[in-house]
Symmetry: C2
Subunit: 399 residues, 2 copies
């Protein structure tokens, strides 16, 4: 365990910390951001560009890949890294988030790349055994069990993998959240049992993939007592890492409350991942609570819609705005990335107006660099015992 | 003129020749292929990737750029090279081809990026003055005259520019073709007059753009006598380069006949461009006739549909085919480009099945490299006096 994650520096005025997370595909400096490469590709970005933008790690989604191309094909290719030509660390989720979102309509729209009206009925049933859903590509009925999620993630071969959990949304009550949490804990034990059966031999079985590390997920919604119980139960199990999942509330205040609950009860000796968080302010709050990694589709998704990240604008800068039509200033003159200096806002405005995919590519690379640079600054500030003032500066310029 | 284009080696058994074409943004080794960057971007490909794939020159389209973002915005940015961050040689067409195609339905579909049923009525009228058409973005009526086409291309600032011609399609008769050809010649004179007015001062006026070179276009359809007349008239005018345009017939035999007509009557002291030709066999035929440059959307367009160029397959290799689902062999093990060796056919098959734009990017870069490599081999064969056997070898493996 100690080989896998090491805290190398601790902020004296908060729980913020610097760490190193070691995988068989390289080390992560934490805090770190994890970029989404949903269907085994960060949309429109070559791995060489990911490297130029200082990317440490990317995440792919089990749900999407089990349906297309299928985990066996990726295993046959030697695992995700060989398949995608991204040779750095990788994470896969368990498939749970997408499947349970099928009952709520939003993720399925993203999955199919189009907006739909009405609810999607792909989620059929959740039972103790697992989750049944319909394959959106061919209509087949599929049962995803905790064991099967681990098996699939074994085949995909990412370095960091997750237990199957039920990700409870904001709109369910405490009673449902509590029952679901207990089932998630029973599923967690089944995942560990499956995982431990052969993990030590896994590297030998699967040529290119490294020894995988398993993360447990803390559920419990917005309820302090449930989060405490979830932390205690998940931390008592034999996980390599821990993650905070499920509903983080409907407001930032609620989210930060949930961060606080979890931070109080979670085991600090293990790396802590926060699922689905990408706002700069939220990241700073999470880092302050001692959380180490964060993933979110937002930096690359907003890039594909023409929005450039900025430290001064909470929602980024929308290059579709007509004020950029004539603005031949570079995207970001001070960027430590040639793309920021070489392309003008007018050019990007033109590419988005023309529906040219190169606009998505250029802005995705920029936003990836931006997030990596932001995390690099976070790490420097922790190293220099200046995290509190760094956070304050960022938030005071935010509007 | 001699500074602009120099023949450095001549095949002894055909008209095939090696040349150097000098622009203010660098030299071209000819024969050379010119890739389409229609709306000021080779779709989905960063300029750095174009360079890695050995690209010498790209072409943008006046018609598209005059409508979006408008030539003035590009001029204000310092010309196409500064605007796009592609710092090598560039060509623009005159706008004619797209406008006249509006009357025939196909190019407008490409322009709007969708297939349409029924004919597009954007082309309003062709008169001696110029061509009237409707702006497909806002419905405005626009008159493109020969002078205006030159003015716009001045603002765009490419190194090699074209006269406005009427590009006659295959389905018009000889009478129409002949009348149209004469009007094209009158338009050519008006273009030259406009161009010569201030070309020598143009470099000083337009900071980044180089001294531009003007190409005349030989029309005349599939008729030997008209092609001869067109060659003689166009060659008698003060052009820097010559181009073969218009209908090249409905079959390969007719195309090669037109090549032969033009080759017999065209001035060999000037560089000769063939408009819109991208088939490997057709290129070899054109090179044999002494033609120096070729442009076509096909290498990148078929890439965006999942088709990989190959010396053994006339229509390329369609990676959408299910036989590639499990094929983890590299795209092209022997490619002199890391992308050919690093990505498997199974991965590209997956990206296209998943509608992931990275598939378009990877395959576009590969096809660009392929074409550049093909032309490099053509040049070596001419240099070594082995062009005839090179051509024979390629054609004998073609199916």
């Amino acid at each position: 365990m100690s080989n896998f994650f090491e805290v190398i520096s601790q902020d004296l005025s908060s729980k913020a910390r610097l760490g190193i997370l070691k995988t068989d595909h390289g080390e992560l400096q934490t805090p770190a951001f994890i970029f989404c490469g949903t269907k085994a590709t960060v949309k429109g970005v070559l791995p060489t560009s990911l490297i130029e933008a200082n990317t440490q790690i990317i995440l792919s989604n089990t749900y999407h890949l089990m349906l297309q191309p299928g985990a066996e094909i990726i295993a046959k290719s030697g695992g995700l890294q060989k398949f995608t030509n991204w040779n750095g660390p990788m994470m896969t989720d368990s498939g749970g988030y997408q499947i349970f979102s099928l009952g709520h309509g939003s993720v399925s729209e993203e999955i199919k790349g189009k907006n739909q009206t009405g609810r999607n009925k792909s989620l059929l049933k959740i039972t103790e055994e697992g989750a049944s859903f319909k394959n959106y590509l061919n209509g087949d009925k599929i049962l995803l069990t905790p064991e099967k999620s681990i098996d699939i993630q074994r085949n995909l071969g990412a370095d960091l993998i997750f237990v199957l959990d039920e990700c409870t949304p904001y709109n369910v009550d405490k009673n449902y959240t509590e029952k679901s949490m207990h089932m998630t804990h029973r599923w967690a034990k089944r995942c560990i049992q499956n995982f431990n059966t052969d993990n030590k031999n896994f590297k030998a079985q699967n040529g290119s993939a490294g020894l995988q590390k398993l993360y447990g997920i803390v559920q419990g919604g917005v309820y302090s007592d449930l989060r405490r119980q979830a932390c205690e139960e998940i931390c008592s199990m034999d996980f390599d890492g821990l993650a905070i999942g499920g509903s983080l509330g409907g407001t930032k205040d609620q989210m930060y409350e949930v961060f606080e609950f979890c931070s109080s009860f979670i085991d600090p000796s293990k790396p802590v991942h926060v699922l689905g968080i990408g706002g700069l302010d939220d990241i700073l709050e999470g880092v302050e609570k001692g959380f180490d990694t964060f993933d979110c589709v937002s930096p690359t998704r907003i890039a594909r819609h023409g929005v450039m990240l900025s430290k001064n604008k909470n929602k980024g800068i929308n290059l579709n705005n007509s004020c950029f039509k004539n603005d031949d200033s570079p995207l970001d003159e001070s960027a430590g990335l040639s793309i920021g200096k070489s392309y003008s806002k007018a050019y990007l405005h033109h590419l988005f107006k023309s529906n040219e995919i190169l606009g998505m590519t250029i802005l995705s690379i920029y936003n990836i660099w931006f997030m990596n640079n932001f995390f690099s600054e976070i790490r420097s500030s922790i190293h220099d015992q200046k995290f509190a003032s760094f956070k304050k500066n960022i938030l005071s310029n935010f509007n």
